[in-house]
Symmetry: C5
Subunit: 89 residues, 5 copies
């Protein structure tokens, strides 16, 4: 899984039928300082998160196997809200 | 999914039989400013988009599961036209 | 597989049901000097490792096929504790 | 798919049985100028291409699904010869 | 496939049951000069190679489909020993 911060969302009218009903969030990987900006993904929200929150995403074929994304044409899905990152000092 | 801008297309006469009939678009990932040029993909168009438009692509095995790409030898497919990107100020 | 060092862990209350019960470790790829910091992953621990230890992770669909992760929505899993890296001088 | 240029080939005597009979080409991703050198792959040729030609490759599990590569232990395969790249001025 | 050089190996006592019996080699991608050091992988050896030799690896789900790795929790496997790289002058 990748640790990401929710940056925003995208709005789409014309899209694959299986994407309908999903909130599509723009997420960005973060480093150990939780601030460093890395790679972007557009991920299907399966939990109900807002901007600025930390989350875990799964990518690839795994993203099509959560309860709400099963069989959908999705390759990135949020699977957890992250409360705390515990790093050794 | 990745947020991309349509940059052009490729023309191919000799190709895998399952690719016939698809418009193959050259797409490039964009950053939060929607301008920064990132990684390139050649993606099968399943929607009918033109150059300069923003879209979402799926990559990997997911690209073989849309209604029009099922079972085709495709590893990148456009699945949505993006109307608007909403980023927190 | 990727050679990683355990850097810490993440705590999550709201998450996909299939992730419950797994310790989610923050791991970072290391170079030949075993110190150079590379890419981050959040990986499900299937062995019981602590911070600072070296491990191997599998990523992608393979991560859903270990005895404890079968069918879980996981795309990175620890599959071995590394005792020693043997590099030619 | 990725847009690549054929750079050469590799010769291998000892190899997985399912790789026998395939010409294994060294290909390199190109940028919009069709010259910029990017990432390398060794791809199974399914078309019959020569050095300097432009092609499309599929990577990952998709590469095991063309007519000639079905069930073979291949994760990169050439699926099209590219005649022309059409980029907006 | 990726063209790699064998750099060493890793020793592991505590590991996933399906990894037992495999020699786990540290391999590094090489560039056209066959010297440039790129990305690292730990790959299951299915051929019997030693340090300094050139090889091809498959990654992702393909690595679980060779005769010896079928159904094993492996995402990188050596599938060929490379005798010669033929690059256009």
């Amino acid at each position: 899984m990748k640790l990401v911060k929710i940056m925003g969302s995208v709005t789409s009218t014309i899209k694959d039928d299986t994407l309908k009903g999903f909130k599509l969030l723009m997420v960005q990987t973060v480093g150990t300082d939780l601030d460093h900006a890395g790679e972007y993904f557009i991920a299907a929200d399966t939990i109900g998160l807002g901007e600025g929150e930390l989350a875990l995403i799964v990518t690839g074929s795994t993203a099509k196997h959560t309860e709400t994304t099963r069989g959908k044409n999705i390759d990135a899905a949020i699977v957890a809200k992250v409360d705390k990152v515990n790093l050794e000092k």
